[in-house]
């Protein structure tokens, strides 16, 4: 697993186009987003699986943002059996619109619908606000939302969010496996040592209990 997507802390140049207010720069950008949302509404995958599909792209580092969204979508469509490889490369027989498809009239309601990621089941919270915790020494293989820059570091629990769907299993269709989620704050000095701009600045991450160990 290369974690090409795990960019935090890497050296990089100036941030581009800071005052840009254009929502979609090309019609295909808009189309790429809409195709992802409409296909996602079919229910054949979840948000974690769609992120995982993009992270796993061999060309992650060279594809542009919406190119990643299209490539990830195409791979998922095949992986989940909605489209065959033959159909991706050739003509497709025409079929009736499936009842599962998102209809234009339902788009606004679907995008405004409250679909929380909190769950009632799962383990009890092991940590309280104010507790010191240490993160795992490295991100787990597969889809793991612990960034490498914060691995093996000590931080403080500042918010507790209840049990949330666990992306590591959900991304692989191995179940929601809800786990307690916390916001953990790290000092810049803890993360960056002498390279910190200001040792007392703070960086927070939202981390699930399996990423954390008691101190």
């Amino acid at each position: 697993m290369t974690r090409a997507h795990d960019l935090g802390g890497r050296p990089a140049g100036p941030v581009p186009d800071k005052d840009d207010t254009v929502v979609f720069h090309d019609s295909w950008h808009a189309k790429a987003l809409a195709l992802n949302l409409a296909s996602g509404a079919l229910g054949a995958w979840n948000i974690d699986a769609s992120r995982f599909a993009r992270e796993q792209l061999k060309d992650y580092a060279t594809l542009s943002y919406y190119e990643k969204w299209m490539a990830g979508l195409a791979n998922l469509l095949v992986e989940r059996g909605l489209v065959t490889e033959a159909e991706l490369s050739g003509d497709v027989p025409q079929s009736q619109l499936t009842p599962k498809a998102l209809r234009a009239a339902d788009v606004s309601a679907a995008m405004h619908k409250f679909m929380p990621y909190t769950r009632k089941n799962g383990p009890t919270a092991q940590f309280q606000m104010g507790d010191k915790v240490r993160t795992l020494s490295a991100p787990q293989a597969g889809h793991c939302r612990l960034p490498a820059y914060a691995a093996g570091r000590v931080g403080t629990v500042i918010l507790s969010h209840g049990n949330h769907v666990f992306p590591d299993t959900n991304a692989r269709f191995q179940g929601e496996n809800p786990q307690p989620l916390y916001t953990v704050e790290f000092t810049a000095a803890t993360l960056w040592g002498a390279a910190a701009e200001n040792p007392d600045d703070a960086i927070s991450l939202d981390l699930w209990q399996p990423y954390l160990e008691p101190l």
Partner: protein
């Protein structure tokens, strides 16, 4: 296919415009996607859901202390009072800028962003440069955006690694306390709500 690890997407045209068209054709022909729904989705994020929503939330917080208190204690519910809710805004947290703290938001692992209040993230927010640098050199990034911090301000960076979404409540500009909510909202840019601008600044 042990010796053929091609990814299915490589079967599509590589030119992105042609690729988008090919994907659309396949999904529509197969009856998986309603083309009218695509237009409705694009219209929704082009016109209905954008930073004008977040600006109304900020303006109300400045004008109404009771709303601000609710916003800081249960942001999802307070934001829903204005009718803003849904996809990518299910678990909102609002972080307040003060003379002691300047907040900024990033997603280093992908592009998590509070859609119901800010819409689709701008290209710079999704860029490798911002994702790489915001957590390690936030002060250099803020300077690049033209944000002058107060000497008293500590920087707090919120890296959105789960489904919690962050909105920055900027400091209210001096001399704006007599304005009504509509006028206040005009002082709130998208970048001010990400933390890469101050309210009232261009």
């Amino acid at each position: 296919m042990p010796h053929d690890h091609h990814e299915p997407h490589s079967l599509l045209p590589s030119d992105p415009e042609l690729r988008a068209r090919a994907l659309e054709t396949i999904l529509v022909q197969k009856g998986l996607v309603d083309p009218a729904a695509l237009s409705a989705l694009i219209d929704t994020y082009q016109n209905d859901i954008g930073p004008q929503n977040g600006a109304r939330v900020v303006a109300r917080a400045w004008a109404n202390p009771a709303f601000k208190a609710r916003l800081l204690s249960d942001a999802t519910a307070a934001i829903a009072e204005l009718g803003f809710a849904g996809r990518q805004g299910e678990h909102m947290v609002v972080v307040e800028n003060t003379a002691a703290v300047h907040n900024m938001v990033v997603c280093t692992l992908c592009s998590c962003y509070p859609w119901p209040v800010l819409g689709i993230p701008p290209a710079w927010y999704k860029s490798d440069e911002y994702r790489s640098r915001a957590v390690k050199e936030p002060r250099a990034v803020l300077a690049e955006f033209g944000v002058a911090l107060l000497g008293s301000q500590k920087v707090r960076v919120w890296d959105s690694s789960a489904e919690v979404r962050y909105l920055v409540l900027p400091m209210q500009p001096e001399g704006s306390h007599e304005l009504d909510e509509g006028a206040l909202a005009n002082l709130v840019s998208r970048n001010a709500m990400i933390g890469t601008a101050l309210a009232g600044a261009e």
